[in-house]
Each structure stands twice: as C-alpha cells, then as structure tokens.
C-alpha cells in the first residue's frame, strides 16, 4: 500500500498531482513572498475577486498587504520585454473574503501562468492543461470556454452609454435575457441590436455547433476574428475533450483586464467554479509590460465541498506492550511492520476512540494477534 498518496486528503492529493502535471510540461515552480506592496492592489482593484485586502505597515512605514492574489505579483515581476516565454506554476496561500462571507480566509490556490508571446500552440497548451487539471480533480467535470473578443466586439458595435453597458454585461453573465430586453426598451436601443445582445445568453453548448450559431451575430472584424480563433482551437482540442469542453458566451471576466480566451471549470458536486482563467494582455499593458499572458487558478479549497472520504481505520496496527516489555524487541517489531508499509501506533493501553485494522501485542513469545477487523 502506498501510504503517501492514500492517506492524503483530496486537496492535498490534488496539489501533488497538479504539480506533477505542470512539471511534465516544463513549467517551473514560482515561490513567492507572502507580502506585496499595497499599491499594486489599489491600482488594480477590479482585477481581484474581492476588494478587501489585509494590510499592515512594515518597519519602514510602507503599507504592505498579505497577498489576495498571485497573478498580479507574477505579472509584475517579469521583465518588461521578456526574451523568451516564462512558464511558471505556483501553489500559495492567498488571503481574501470569499463571496457572502464577512471574514478573511486563507485560501490555498494552485495556478499556472504563461507569460510571453502567445501563439495557437501556447493557447492550446494552457487550455488543455486547465482541462487536464479539472480531470484530475474529478471524473465528472465541465470546462466552459468563451472569447472576450466576441462580446467586446459586439459592445463596440453597439456603442452604448457606459452605465447601460455595465448593466447589460451583468445581465449577460446571469443569462438574463428578459432584463436585457427591458433595459434596451427603456433606453431606446435598436430592436435588432437588443436581439443580438440577448442572443448571447443562449449561445452555449458543444463547440462546433455554438460557433456556427454565433456566426449569425457577427457585426465586425473583431467578432469574426474571435470566432476564427475559437474555430482553430476547437479543431485542435476536440480530439482530447470527450465533450467536457463547451462554449458559453455568458462567461465574462472584467473587460479592462481580459481579452481573448477565458474559461471556467466546474466539477460535479461543487456549486461554483473550481477553476478560472484566461488571457490577460490588458493587465500586462496596464503594468507596462510589452507582452501577452495567459493563465488559470485552481481553487483547491473548494474540493472540501465534495465531503470527506471516510477513512475506515486510523491506523493499520495498534501495537500494545506491557510495562516490562523488552524495548529493543518492541523497536524491532515496529520497524518490521512499518517496513511492510503499515501504519503502526504503539501504546501501552487500549484506547477507545482509535480505529485499527489489527490489534497486536508484544508478549513473551513475540507478536500475538489479539484482534483483526478485516
């Protein structure tokens, strides 16, 4: 029996397996400090999932923060014009307030970032790593993919007032077609435009079919090239996805940071996304970097929602000994049992709470089996 992996909790195992996966593809682990200058988060507030950050003053009087996010820090530290792509992964604790909670939590996050010039291969690699990460978490998983170019192209064409645009984008995210129609009617938006925007809420499903349906909505080059990009990716990835990769144009991330591909991953039994990522060239631009970037984060802590895998036994062997027992014999016996891959707990008296597979006792004539629970 392999005690290393079988005794780990689901989250711990996931971290090991994801790490192995990313190493296989030549990504390097990026270990970072726990703190970051607060300014970085102040300037990029809307990039963060929640705006609260734990801050403190360091010994020089500078305002620091406990990291609420890792991507911003990685993006900040890479050179302005990297000569070759940086391929990194991380597993770090971040500190933020989850939705609906009023307290800070320490959240274990695993993620992967590709920073450098991005071609079709690079996009497919990151996407397929995201998909394979999900598959490692659960057999029953779905990844939904979208391209921000499509919706931002449509919004450019519509040229709505900013306040209205924000409300409409929020409706698309909630697949709320009735509210889009109401808002458009209220603000005198052209009927045909209104229909096109509302149609976004129903644009989801299998890759090829959804791309085909989306073609009918194309208004400008930006939307067309976004669909071309998705078509290329679909043709590369369709072989390895077995239906778990789908398109959904209601998936939207902040338009001021993300462009191009974005995606979210779900596993059966967890009520919200466990993986989220995309292409964030605009963030790089804001940080003054002359390069593209794409990556994703896996919210490993969400796996707790799947419930605990019930462990039948706390130890394999509970080994009892009398007061007068020969300690060197006892030590030898423990060594022998652990060498066989068993988990052994040694104590002088039986305890009621402990569940064991086998109860042994070191007596005059060596090890005796007192009880077996197999």
């Amino acid at each position: 029996m392999n005690t290393v992996t079988s005794d780990l909790r689901r989250e711990e195992r996931a971290i090991f397996e994801l790490r192995e996966l990313y190493e296989q593809y030549g990504y390097k682990k990026y270990k970072m400090s726990k703190f970051e200058e607060y300014d970085l988060y102040l300037e990029n507030k809307s990039f963060l999932p929640s705006s609260q950050v734990i801050t403190f003053t360091d010994l020089n009087g500078k305002l620091l923060a406990l990291k609420p996010d890792v991507t911003l820090s990685i993006a900040k530290y890479i050179p302005t014009c990297p000569a070759e792509p940086e391929k990194v992964y991380y597993n770090e604790n971040v500190y933020r307030t989850p939705r609906g909670s009023h307290e800070y939590k320490e959240i274990m996050q695993v993620g992967l970032e590709y920073l450098g010039s991005i071609d079709l291969y690079a996009q497919c690699e990151v996407l397929s790593l995201a998909l394979r990460s999900l598959q490692k978490l659960s057999e029953s998983c779905v990844m939904v993919l979208s391209d921000m170019g499509f919706i931002s192209g449509l919004l450019e064409y519509c040229a709505l007032p900013l306040a209205l645009e924000e409300r409409i984008v929020a409706c698309v995210e909630h697949k709320n077609a009735h509210e889009i129609k109401r808002l458009c009617a209220e603000n005198g938006v052209d009927e045909e435009l209104c229909q096109s925007i509302a149609a976004l809420t129903g644009l989801y499903g299998e890759l090829d079919d959804t791309i085909r349906r989306a073609r009918a909505l194309v208004k400008n080059d930006k939307m067309a090239s976004s669909l071309d990009r998705l078509t290329e990716i679909a043709s590369v990835l369709s072989a390895e996805t077995d239906g778990s990769l789908r398109l959904d144009f209601s998936v939207i991330n902040d338009l001021s940071y993300y462009n191009g591909l974005i995606f979210q991953g779900f596993i059966d039994g967890v009520p919200s996304a466990v993986l989220s990522g995309g292409r964030y060239d605009k963030l790089m631009e804001r940080l003054g970097k002359n390069t593209s970037a794409m990556g994703f984060a896996v919210y490993v802590d969400q796996l707790e929602r799947l419930g605990f895998e019930e462990r039948r036994y706390d130890v394999d062997v509970l080994l009892l000994y009398d007061e007068g027992a020969d300690v060197s014999k006892l030590t030898a016996a423990v060594k022998m049992l652990t060498n066989n891959g068993q988990r052994v707990r040694v104590q002088s008296a039986l305890s009621e709470k402990l569940r064991f597979r086998q109860l042994l006792k070191l007596g005059e004539r060596g090890l005796e089996i007192l009880e077996s629970n197999d």
């Binding site: 939705r99 609906g100 029953s140 779905v142 939904v144 909630h174 697949k175 709320n176 009735h178 509210e179 989801y204 499903g205 789908r246 209601s250 779900f266 059966d268 967890v270 009520p271 919200s272 996304a273």
Partner: protein
Amino acid sequence: MNPMISVALPKGRLGESVYKIFDEIGYGCPEIMEEGRKLIFENAENRVSYFWAKPSDVAIYVEHGAADIGVAGLDILLEQQPDVFELLDLGLGKCRMAVAGKKDALRDTDRTLRVATKFPNIAKSYYAEQSREIEIIKLNGSIELAPIVKLSDVIVDIVETGKTLKENDLEVLETVCDISARLIVNKAAFRFKTEQIEQMCGKLRERIAKG
C-alpha cells in the same frame, strides 16, 4: 437515468401558485400539498424534488447548490446579488419596490434623509444614483410603523395594493422598480444538467406565455 432536479420554492402564496404551474407542465409531486412534517418531496418518475424555504433564503440555497433551481422575487435578487443564472421572468407575484412616507416627506432636501427598510442594499443604490445623503435604518418587519413613530422620514418597501399605506396615512412617493418572481439556477448545476434544465425552462416559458 436522467439526474434529479431539486427545486427550492418560496413558502407562501407565491410558491403555491408556482408549484401549480410546475404540476401542469409535468413536474407534479402530489405529496407536496399534503399536510405533514415532511421537508423534502420527491417524485422519482418526473425526476424532480421540491422543498419549501423562507422566500428570502431561496437564493442562498440555489447559490450554494443545495437546490439546482429556485423561485425568488426580484427584490431578493437585487438585495442579495447572488451569483446565479436568472433564466426566466415568471410574471407572478407582481408588485413594486417603492419609497413611501407622509405626503411631504421628500420636500426638505437640506438634511439627511432617514430611510427605514428591509432592503438596505436596494435603498443605498437607489439613493446613490440621486447622490442623496441618507441614513439607513434596517428593520425586519412592520416597516410602515417607522414614519408614523418618527423613526424615519420614509420607507423603501414592497407595495402590492397600497392599502396598508393608505390606512396609515402614508403614500407612495416614488417607484424604485417593478418586482416579479424569477426562475434562478445554480451555475454549476446548469453545466451538469443542461438538457433537463433547458427542457424545464422551455415548458415553463410556453406555459407563462399562455398566461
């Protein structure tokens, strides 16, 4: 076999009329109308289960995945902003969110307006749009009492017929928005039960269009 779909219904008149519609379109579960202590009602044949929840809790059950689908008033959705899909306006339980108070309550604009409400977020964003300085007093019931006993200048609350207001010498001063019941869906459940949920929505949409 198709997966079961769990539905959270709001306790009360609205929930009961919504259930009748579910029943008519083929998602019936007869035992739900029986008096008893049961909390969850399941019809394995129609692949659906129901439970009653406090109306203001429905969105919480759905967002956390305890129910795949729920029915909640727009008032609750605006107040709580849950991260769920809102697929249909059911057109039931129609009423409006309004500012009400004594006739002249909004006349003096030179001081902080005291607003009593069960919906602090809705009130806050409504007055933020007007850039009006307000003080929110969060109450949990009998909101109409607040202006009468001078706890607040106005209230922000749901108004159906306006009868209670009238009896207390209050009136609607402004309408915030129209309210009706919405069908909400958990985002993850939607990915794993797409076909079943679409089918249910399609039937509901047809039934609602008939009126």
